[in-house]
């Protein structure tokens, strides 16, 4: 714009501004549609703002520091039912297990799909398999996990009774299911990043006599680090926000219940809750009906999600949306 202004040499005292596009000449129907578009866009912002503000107001008024350091206690009175220290720890454990498994496996599958993909038919099938997995509802995944992890073969994952029957419900089992839930997201993001790498990167490495494996390890993966991080953060968001798997796999009790044995392993093999199942349990739909606790926990949950969101936005520079420059000179 600046260069054209220089060339046109506007008379001193006036500033040349590009003409704004007007809709005055459009037919009425088109102008109406234009208006509806604006209303929809602004409405969307308002809905998001309302949700965040509503949670903010309700959450902050229900929040106090004691909630963060107290364990939940079984009590019908809201005052005595404790805080959400255990669900916070639970969320942390579940996310760590889920991401810890899904990230390496997901990166591995994504590299295989883009860099090897031999035999071709297997790659195609795996591709649609990942897509199917992305579409499986988490409640179905939870039901499946309940069957699988109750098998004797997986008895090391969860508590078992003296009679030898395995409960199948534990943080480890739920974390494994969460990994399945996050896998398609991570594979998708990493794959996208790998596909966007120019082929000369690979060719340069091959020309230096490097094998595929070395190229992947030392050239490709380091250069798509932001993509991997983005995928992992997306997966984390998905895991932190999921409720159905937790409610089915860990049960309703909000307190951590170890399975016995060495301290850390006992917790991992035991049951408990996460922030999501805590919110569900303390909402009017759950058993401990105390909305204030639910609001406070939901507020903390929302803040975690918002932080992750900001991280994703920073990692990926956002969608680049091209459009016609309608203000260009006619």
């Amino acid at each position: 714009m600046a260069s054209t202004q220089l060339l046109d040499a506007p008379p001193p005292g006036t500033i040349a501004r590009p003409k704004r596009e007007t809709t005055a000449a459009w037919p009425l129907v088109d102008r109406l549609c234009h208006a509806v578009c604006w209303i929809t866009g602004i409405g969307l912002c308002l809905v998001a703002a309302w949700i965040v503000l509503y949670m903010l107001v309700k959450g902050i008024s229900a929040l106090n520091l004691k909630l963060f350091v107290e364990s939940p206690a079984p009590s019908l009175r809201e005052r005595q039912s404790g805080g959400f220290l255990d669900p916070l720890i639970g969320t942390f454990i579940i996310t760590a297990i889920g991401v810890g498994i899904a990230a390496p496996v997901g990166v591995g599958i994504a590299t295989w799909l883009t860099e090897y993909a031999r035999p071709r038919w297997l790659a195609r099938t795996v591709e649609s398999g990942i897509e199917t997995l992305a579409g499986v509802p988490s409640i179905v995944l939870a039901l499946f996990g309940l069957l699988i992890f109750a098998r004797g073969f997986f008895s090391f994952l969860s508590a078992s009774t003296n009679g030898g029957s395995v409960s199948g419900k534990s943080f480890l089992a739920a974390g494994l299911l969460m990994a399945v839930l996050a896998l398609p997201l991570i594979v998708g993001t990493v794959r996208e990043a790998l596909l966007q790498l120019p082929s000369r990167t690979r060719e340069a490495s091959f020309a230096l006599g490097k094998t595929r494996a070395t190229t992947i390890r030392h050239v490709l993966l380091p250069s798509i680090r932001p993509g991997i991080a983005g995928g992992v953060v997306l997966g984390m968001g998905r895991i932190i926000g999921d409720t159905a798997i937790i409610v089915v796999m860990l049960g309703a009790a909000p307190k951590l219940q170890g399975a016995g044995g060495p301290p850390l392993l006992s917790t991992l093999r035991g049951t408990g809750s996460t922030l999501t199942s805590y919110v569900y349990g303390f909402s009017p739909a759950g058993e401990g009906n105390s909305p204030h606790k639910a609001y406070a926990a939901a507020f903390v949950l929302l803040m975690i999600v918002l932080a992750l969101n900001a991280l994703v936005t920073r990692l990926s520079r956002g969608l680049s949306l091209g459009s016609v420059d309608w203000t260009a000179k006619q």
Binding site: Y54, R118, V136, I139, T211, R212, A213, A285, S320
Partner: protein, 333 residues
């Protein structure tokens, strides 16, 4: 000279290592397929008793799933029926209603919003809208459910349901605000972001020359969008509908909180009252009725519902694949 064989050995060792990496990664990928196969088999095997005891009428109507589940839980068969007696229609009806309404409404809104984002929004507004869409996509369903049951359902109950309406159906069902309207509304907001993202991406990738060609013919901007961009983006719009439907199918937590928690056959013949009647979907029913003991009649019914969901999800992902094939023949994306 003497180094030659050593180097050859080293080379073959690296090639071996390379092949080993390929095999390991390939095994990981194939593991995904094995997982899906195992999932299908285990869920179907556990669902089979319920299907075989009821036959095709499993999908039909006949009684209230809540009483049927209660009968299974207390181990007292309903008079004249076996213990596995189960009729899923009220749940399937609830699923159809919420999903179709939400997807249709979301389709309209998301198309308009995507057009706004790609075409009309000034840069500052677009810079706000991008994170807003991502935020709406990231909010966990349990928070949507909480907002729904503590803010929207009471509001609907207070302002939209008149006392006359309440009394007119009081003998069959209690209207509480946790109903079809609230459930559809929140479900719409939940599936909007994914649709907006897909459609906006497609609109933006319609070749610039097509749009400029239309503009050069003197067609105004809205008509260009309508006749050129939207048509070019049709496959992506179909893909968005497929994905959104998959998301709506499996939603359990939010619907369990706001849909009223009763498998009521909401009846369109009730006029406007229809929109204020409670509904329940299969995912919600699983969450509420299934306690976690496998091998019982309750578990069989729950796994049968899960099998229906799983089958629908697989079907939808196949539909999405078919849509993308057609996209390839368009030459776009």
């Amino acid at each position: 000279m003497a180094a030659r064989p050593e180097r050859r050995a080293a080379l073959s060792r690296t090639v071996e290592a390379d092949k080993r990496v390929e095999r390991t990664l390939g095994a990981c990928a194939a593991g995904v397929l094995a997982l899906i196969a195992v999932m299908l088999v285990t869920v179907l095997v556990n669902a089979w008793p319920s299907f075989s005891a009821n036959g095709l009428s499993w999908f039909g109507s006949g009684g209230d799933p809540v009483t049927q589940f209660a009968a299974m839980q207390t181990d007292t068969p309903l008079p004249g029926h076996s213990i596995d007696y189960f009729r899923a229609w009220p749940l399937l009806w609830g699923l159809l209603l919420t999903t179709i309404f939400a997807v249709v409404i979301a389709l309209v809104i998301s198309t308009l919003a995507a057009i706004f984002i790609t075409e009309f929004a000034p840069t500052p507004v677009r810079r706000v809208l991008d994170p807003v869409v991502r935020l709406l996509a990231g909010v966990p369903s349990v928070i949507y459910g909480l907002v729904g049951i503590l803010a929207i359902a009471p509001w609907v109950n207070e302002h939209l349901i008149s006392n006359a309406r309440r009394q007119s159906v009081a003998y069959v069902v209690q209207l509480s605000g946790a109903d079809l309207t609230t459930a559809t509304l929140i479900l719409t907001v939940m599936i909007l972001p994914i649709m907006i993202a897909l459609i906006a991406n497609a609109l933006a990738s319609v070749p610039l020359s097509w749009r400029e060609g239309s503009a050069a013919l003197g067609v105004n901007r809205w008509r260009t969008i309508q006749r050129v961009s939207l048509r070019g983006a049709r496959p992506a719009i179909a893909a968005a509908v497929v994905l959104a439907t998959a998301r709506a199918l499996g939603e359990a937590i939010m619907l369990a909180m706001v849909s009223g928690g009763r498998p009521f056959n909401a009846n369109p013949l009730d006029g406007l009252t229809f929109f204020f009647e409670p509904v329940e979907t299969p995912a919600t029913a699983i969450l509420k009725e299934f306690g976690g003991e496998t091998g019982t009649p309750v578990a069989h019914a729950a796994y049968a519902l899960a099998a229906v969901l799983l089958f629908s999800a697989a079907l939808l992902s196949f539909a999405g694949w078919a849509v993308r094939q057609s996209m390839r023949s368009y030459g776009a994306v």
